[in-house]
Amino acid sequence: MTTTDDGILLTFPKGLLGFPQLTTFRLFEPRDGYPLKFLQSVESPEIAFTCLDPAGIQEDYAVPLGDEDAEALGLEVPEDALILTLVVIPEDPRRMTTNLAGPLVVNVKTRVGFQIALNAEKYPLRFPILPQD
């Protein structure tokens, strides 16, 4: 996948949890190792999610994708899966968190994705990205 200024067009047929009406997004991946990415709704461009590649913050984070999910996404090999987790930036940005319980999984070949729900006891909903004092 290459990024252009228009971003990469992705389809989430079921929308995101809480946003079922948003099914088409542009993924912006700034260059030069910028640590955050942005997912902007095409239907409602005022809505954009901050996200990141969780591999950068948690190297053993693996999404246990069910057979049904993999099939629905048409995923043939794990390498075709792009995983993104959404980032919440509070007033004190040192306390920013990412949601490991609700990752987005995208088939990079078809550019179709789903948000999946994982066991929130095992995969924190608010995983601190920065070391906490």
Binding site: L36, G66, I89, R126
Partner: protein, 83 residues
């Protein structure tokens, strides 16, 4: 909505492969057992609600995103384990 009365040890079957069994009834609530294929994810509804709330929060940065990005770039990245 289907409304149905079940007693302990009775069950309902959904879609031929998911079975929900009433294990017991206490003052605190109804205890359910769910038999489903591994491919079917079973979650408490609250999990979906919590993720939806985090999704909403992810659209509303409370501080400039550039500041967050600068902190991230500067930080010694943490590598703890989930499991």
């Amino acid at each position: 909505m289907l409304v149905i009365t079940r007693k302990p040890d009775q069950s309902i079957v959904i879609g031929g492969e998911v079975e929900v069994i009433v294990l017991g009834i206490t003052k605190e609530g109804v205890r359910l057992g769910i038999k489903a294929p591994r491919s079917v994810q079973v979650h408490r509804r609250e999990v979906f609600e919590a993720i939806a709330a985090e999704n909403k929060a992810a659209t509303e940065a409370r501080t400039p995103v550039q500041d967050a990005a600068a902190l991230l770039r500067a930080a010694q990245v943490r590598k703890p384990r989930v499991r």
